[in-house]
């Protein structure tokens, strides 16, 4: 039997190269950002190819999307409205993921937060004529408590019985949606319709457009106070993570649980508390969405925000401040993408971006080098 020379072996004269992967010893801080940007760009190029394959003009399509999301103050206001729930669910993912707790349940915690806030208005715990100064904080607290409860359950199970939090939080998403459905189909249904009655104005977060009588240019700008609250939440999470002792513990557990245990850090307690904080943030997101945008409890209050938040947290490399601009970008992408018809195409592009981002993580942890065969060590 004769052995055929390989294709490459024919080029005996020249040096031969191959790609070699090796783990990175350390990751420079800027690399994460560059790789993520590169991944998004690569995804946009791939998306462009898809757009071309279906007979479109990718340049014009992307130009359209940029314009539809950031083109003028009006659409930018809509983009920020969309970014508000995204910021909160992303922060929820950030705090949990930083401790290597895989809370996939922000979606359910978001729904529970909306439910908790609705309790205040619909039970009603506070009468409709209550001052907004009391109503809104009460809704925020109830929303956060309900979200925190939804985080506490898997957190407790994880801490005490080592129940896999990925499975438990994922499953609890379905329970949360079903729980909400029970209330909008039955207890709070308005005349058989699957929505509660509209909240009284005292339970609405103020929007710029509400002041259009005084300032005409605010007309149609629906950005609401929730965006400011989301920014504050990002600042608070940053402070907790990087300036407080608790945040130090969270990061240490995330980086090296064994060292954290030797250092005397209470992992059980932190697991439960971090899951509750995570749930509270997502719950606050749900509250802001129904108080600032929907103004009643109903189904479909989230178009998968909880899951988009996971992508954003990842893209932000778990940095709570970076979450804000990336949520705004994603808000714009979701908003502009909705307008391209048929609706499958923008979903496809978003999917491609996600896959590229996850793939790019590999480049962060490994470096790829071109080495000359024979020279490799």
């Amino acid at each position: 039997m004769t052995t055929k020379p390989s294709l490459f072996a024919q080029y005996r004269g020249g040096a031969r190269f191959r790609l070699r992967m090796e783990p990175r010893m350390k990751q420079p801080g800027w690399l994460g950002l560059i790789v993520s940007l590169g991944a998004v760009t690569f995804a946009l190029v791939l998306g462009g190819i898809v757009l071309m394959l279906v007979g479109g003009d990718p340049f014009r399509a992307y130009a359209f999307m940029a314009k539809a999301a950031f083109g003028d103050i009006g659409v930018f206001s809509d983009t920020l409205v969309k970014a508000t729930p995204l910021i909160l669910v992303s922060l929820a993912a950030v705090v949990a993921f930083r401790m290597r707790l895989w809370n996939i349940g922000a979606e359910g915690q978001f729904y529970l937060g909306a439910f908790g806030a609705s309790l205040v208005v619909l039970t009603p715990i506070l009468p409709p004529e209550t001052s907004p100064w009391l109503m809104i904080p009460a809704m925020m607290i109830m929303g956060m408590l309900a979200g925190a409860l939804w985080g506490f359950i898997p957190g407790y199970l994880k801490a005490k019985y080592n129940v896999n939090e990925i499975i438990s939080t994922l499953m609890m998403n379905y329970i949360a949606v079903a729980w909400n459905n029970y209330f909008i189909f039955d207890v709070w249904s308005e005349g058989g319709f699957q929505m509660s009655r509209q909240f009284p104005k005292t339970a609405w977060l103020p929007r710029l457009t509400d002041y259009s009588a005084q300032v005409p240019m605010f007309r149609g700008l629906t950005i609401h106070l929730g965006f400011v609250i989301a920014l504050i939440a990002a600042g608070v999470v940053w402070w907790i993570m990087y300036r407080s002792r608790w945040g130090y513990e969270i990061r240490l557990i995330g980086d090296n649980p064994r060292a954290a245990r030797y250092a005397g850090i209470n992992i059980v307690r932190n697991t439960i508390l971090v899951m509750m904080l995570s749930g509270a943030l997502a719950g606050l997101g749900g509250m802001l969405e129904i108080s600032g945008v929907v103004h009643r409890l109903q189904g479909a209050i989230s178009s998968g925000y909880g899951f988009t938040g996971i992508i954003i947290a990842w893209l932000a490399k778990l940095n709570p401040i970076l979450v804000v601009p990336i949520s705004i970008l994603f808000g714009g992408l979701l908003l502009a993408g909705r307008e391209i018809q048929p609706s499958g195409i923008p979903m496809l592009i978003q999917g491609i971006i996600l896959v590229c981002l996850i793939g790019s993580d590999f480049l962060l942890r490994n470096r790829i080098r071109l080495v000359q065969i024979g020279q490799e060590a």
Binding site: V35, G38, V40, A61, I301, S343
Partner: protein
């Protein structure tokens, strides 16, 4: 590849992306090859439509979309656009606002839950006309409500289905209803009233599926009704799943919404919508300034309602062609009366009507009025009889 090369590549790609967004030109095109971006066309009357499902769902949304296409073909100087798969909660207000900002003149929203966002935007954009299908609100100036007397066609479909069940020797029918709202109860009652017309011993079972569009749930609900013994099953939801399941089970299905939904042999008939003429009339009226949005409830004489197999150019489905000649003729006569306006929704709901508890709901010589068709007592709209009862023959209870 060295690290600096990777870096350079990344920077290059980033710049490329920026260039992509920068050099796209000013005007976004409305049709870009295989996909479409809604944009207005200068100098034309621009109409947009927002759909809850895909524009080619084979049911509700497709019927509306074809109505929109009809407008584009039949009303001069009109430009159309649509956005599909828009959920009622999270996205819809922004979608409607975006279309309004772009400068669309007339916007149709074809799902119940779009009602509040459309009402808000009507106030914000007084120059835009908003027409909402199947809701209960209007501002009488630029936000109106539109629906039609589908109960006429459901009643006749009930007559056919009752006769079929009787002929097959299994007098049981099923109705997979979407949500417990007046519309679905009204249509269920119309089916039952028609069924009792041809088959007094027939009964109608009901399953609530709590969705307008979910092919899987629709299939499961249909299967569950057939397994519970139903001979013919009606759907109130958007897809033709009920006929597919009927075919598998060797039973009969009655589809809904779109004339193209009733193609296989197991489909007896389909009460369907022909939105085109109604939409065209509204568009022309808005252009001319003669149409005032309000509560617009059309009847069969508009030509906007169909019963598959019985309209011009259609042939009877095999399951109907075998029925006794007098039943077929009775339905043919009613269809003819409907088209000329001699048979309306108030004829469907004229007394005496008993509910399934044996109570007399509408006495002899009386008929329901529009507000009765649309409302539960708790809406506070002042209905006398209202639509919160199941007609005689329905073997289900109303949800609390």
């Amino acid at each position: 590849m060295s690290r600096s090369m990777a870096l350079r590549l990344a920077v290059l790609l980033t710049l490329l992306a920026l260039a992509l967004t920068a050099c796209g030109g000013e005007e976004a095109p409305e049709v870009v090859g295989g996909f479409e971006i809604p944009a207005v066309e200068e100098g034309k009357f621009n109409i947009a439509m927002v759909l809850i499902g895909p524009h080619d769902d084979g049911g509700w949304s497709q019927a509306h979309f074809e109505g929109l296409e009809y407008v584009a073909e039949n009303v001069p100087d009109v430009h159309i656009a649509y956005i599909e798969n828009v959920p009622e909660g999270a996205d819809s207000e922004q979608i409607f606002r975006s279309l309004s900002r772009k400068g669309f003149d007339l916007i149709f929203g074809t799902s119940f839950g779009y009602m509040d966002p459309m009402e808000v935007l009507a106030e914000e954009f007084p120059d835009v006309t908003y027409i909402h299908i199947s809701g209960i609100k209007s501002n009488m100036t630029n936000f109106g409500n539109l629906f039609g007397a589908m109960e006429n066609m459901k009643y006749m479909a009930g007559m056919l289905a009752g006769a079929r069940a009787q002929m097959d020797g299994n007098p049981k029918l099923g109705y997979m209803a979407t949500f417990p709202i007046p519309e679905e109860i009204r249509l269920g009652n119309a089916i039952a009233l028609g069924m009792r017309e041809t088959c007094p011993e027939c009964t109608l079972d009901v399953r609530w599926i709590n969705t307008w569009h979910d092919p899987i749930i629709e299939k499961e609900a249909a299967a569950s009704l057939f397994d519970a013994g139903a001979q013919v099953v009606f759907t109130g939801a958007d897809t033709p799943a009920v006929a597919d399941v009927a075919q598998e089970k060797g039973k009969w299905g009655v589809t809904y919404d779109w004339y193209g939904s009733c193609k296989i042999d197991a489909c007896l008939t389909a009460p369907y919508w022909v939105w085109g003429p109604v939409y065209a009339e509204i568009a022309e009226g808005v252009i001319a300034g003669t149409y005032t949005p309000g509560w617009d409830y059309f009847d069969g004489d508009t030509g906007a309602l169909g019963l598959y197999g019985f309209m011009e150019g259609e042939e009877l489905q095999p399951g109907v062609a075998e029925l006794p000649e007098d039943v077929i003729q009775a339905v043919r006569d009613l269809v003819a009366d409907t088209l000329v306006g001699d048979f309306t929704r108030f004829d469907v709901f004229s007394g005496p009507i008993y509910d399934n508890q044996g109570n007399l709901i509408v006495p002899e010589g009386k008929a329901l009025e529009q507000v009765d068709l649309d409302a539960f007592p708790e809406f506070g709209l002042g209905c006398e009889y209202c639509m919160k009862w199941w007609a005689e023959g329905i073997t289900a209870e109303l949800p609390e």
